[in-house]
Symmetry: C2
Subunit: 348 residues, 2 copies
Amino acid sequence: MSGKRSPARRPTMKDIARHAGVSQSAVSFALNGRPGVSEDTRDRVRQVAEELGWRPSTAARALSGEGAATVGFVLARPADTLGVDSFFLQLVSGIQEVLAERHLGLLFQVVEDVADECAVYRRWWAEHRVDGVLVVDPRTDDPRPDLLDGLGLPAVVIGGAPDVRHPGLSTVWADDAGAMASVVDGLHALGHRRIVHIAGLPGLAHTERRVRTLRAEAERRGLPEVRSVTTDYSDAAGAAVTRRVLRGDAPPTALIYDNDVMAVAGAAAAAELGFAVPADVSVVSWEDSALCRMVKPWLSALSRDSVEFGRTAARELTALLDGGPARAVRVPVPRLTERGSTGAARDV
Amino acid sequence: MSGKRSPARRPTMKDIARHAGVSQSAVSFALNGRPGVSEDTRDRVRQVAEELGWRPSTAARALSGEGAATVGFVLARPADTLGVDSFFLQLVSGIQEVLAERHLGLLFQVVEDVADECAVYRRWWAEHRVDGVLVVDPRTDDPRPDLLDGLGLPAVVIGGAPDVRHPGLSTVWADDAGAMASVVDGLHALGHRRIVHIAGLPGLAHTERRVRTLRAEAERRGLPEVRSVTTDYSDAAGAAVTRRVLRGDAPPTALIYDNDVMAVAGAAAAAELGFAVPADVSVVSWEDSALCRMVKPWLSALSRDSVEFGRTAARELTALLDGGPARAVRVPVPRLTERGSTGAARDV
DNA sequence: TTTAGTGGCTAAAGCGCATTAGGGTCACCG
DNA sequence: CGGTGACCCTAATGCGCTTTAGCCACTAAA
């Protein structure tokens, strides 16, 4: 009835104090569970706050030293690269789940490269915008841990190996090395001797881990014709590299792709070249998603629970925000879901 | 040398004032381009601020009435639904581009349904967290415009039709009706008479628009065997519906899918059933992405520039934040990129 | 009876900024 | 030579919250 045309005013603690007939400080004590008010008053205040639909102004909270109730997440990828990638949305969705419970906001930003990412961290810190950040795509020789350490910004590195040089940062990681070893193991058992690993971006920590492990495994088994090729993760690169290696002399009999997009594109490229999957060449995707079940044959893939990965990372960050110690948490080794794209190596 | 172990302190305007030998107010005037200081002083203050790496505390800014310098974006989708969807990441990336220029943050949240989404808006508003929001997936009978209007929270609805009932909200929309008409036109010209539209979620405004238009076009041309089937956008649903309609009597000769994921899954399902694409059945995807070029034949698709779509939406929102009037902006009609999946209808 | 607590509350200060109301100083006009 | 702006600048206030200091009444101990 009252013509609610003018945008409603936000209720403040002052309003609550007035309605409840107490001082602002009493309201603050009551609402924050601090001693200094009787249970009676506390209940009354709580009730009034509820009725008024009061919520603490994050700005005011942040200003009086309580932190911004927000964590940051920066994705450093050129716009066109983040096309068909299920990993990040799932990761974020898991992160959200945990953050939402604690009413923590997620400040999200997409930038071009790591330098820009660092700039964003500096800005966020100076602007007092976030209490902590989640860092993805760790690199070999990464400037971010040093920066965040210096700023004193709590952070969880997602996908990096435990970093002894930065005891302030938590790490959540998957055992790529172990997974790679087991994949090579499986392929070797199937008779594969010539294996090419179509890797992701060079410089990324997990790319390097996989590449190193593959090389080590190959040496251990005495397989000279096993190697990695780095790419930019795009479908185009996946297809291009596939064509190149299959056209060479003594083409590989097994291909390991670092993501689903390249695996699908690569499998298609192989088929075009007349290589049957898996009769002529086996294909493994290091990322499972609906994509892997959209092509014929379905692609064998390493599955990991990206949503849970996100949850774990967020939990580590909240623990850090609560003053807990930094930790290195390993999530379960991704396991290979065998589908139709892997089989015994053709006799050479 | 000075043992920078303790996390650096954020410089404040007080620090600048001290270094520059002026009052805080002078600093404020200087830094915000307000009159009241000489150009000399202004430059000096700017320089000091620069040296100290000062950035305004958003908390303090927000508290003194300047807004939170942040806009919100809520995605109401169950976690497992947001798998292989290139649209949102691209949209967000476009949004970011515009927001970053103005140093506006993007608060991002994933929730289960629209009710939760509304709760998030209320909370954000009460907590003074955002200055405006971007709303996606508008529905028929949507509670959000009313809510946002009531809260006085500036908002841009992405993908909705212009809404005369909420003159406070801007709208950025694509002409689905026109696009649908032109697709039907093209298929009709190729001889197709039995067309099935495998649509997205019922209740979504653009789904309804497309469904309505398709029906109208069919009636206009006297095609009784043209219809829409709604789904949940998943690959599974796309494949299932495809199988169902192709197995029926008088199967359709053309299929229009509301997204790329369903189109690819559907095309695969058709192939499995022995329907050659496009000889037996033509396939059109209402979303273009790398996915469409990962299958054989490549899928004809309606391409729109999602990144630009995001930019446009963000620009409208910033205009709104600047006090500009609400507008309804139409982005270019998506155009059909003809690829190998569409062809003349087989003689019936 | 005084003294020391103690529980329940209020007043006041401070966080970092924007903004309003003045307070000097100088040049210019009458 | 006093008056009047214009120009630069400072002091002080408020935004909504947390927190410290302190007040008052009442009880328990000395």
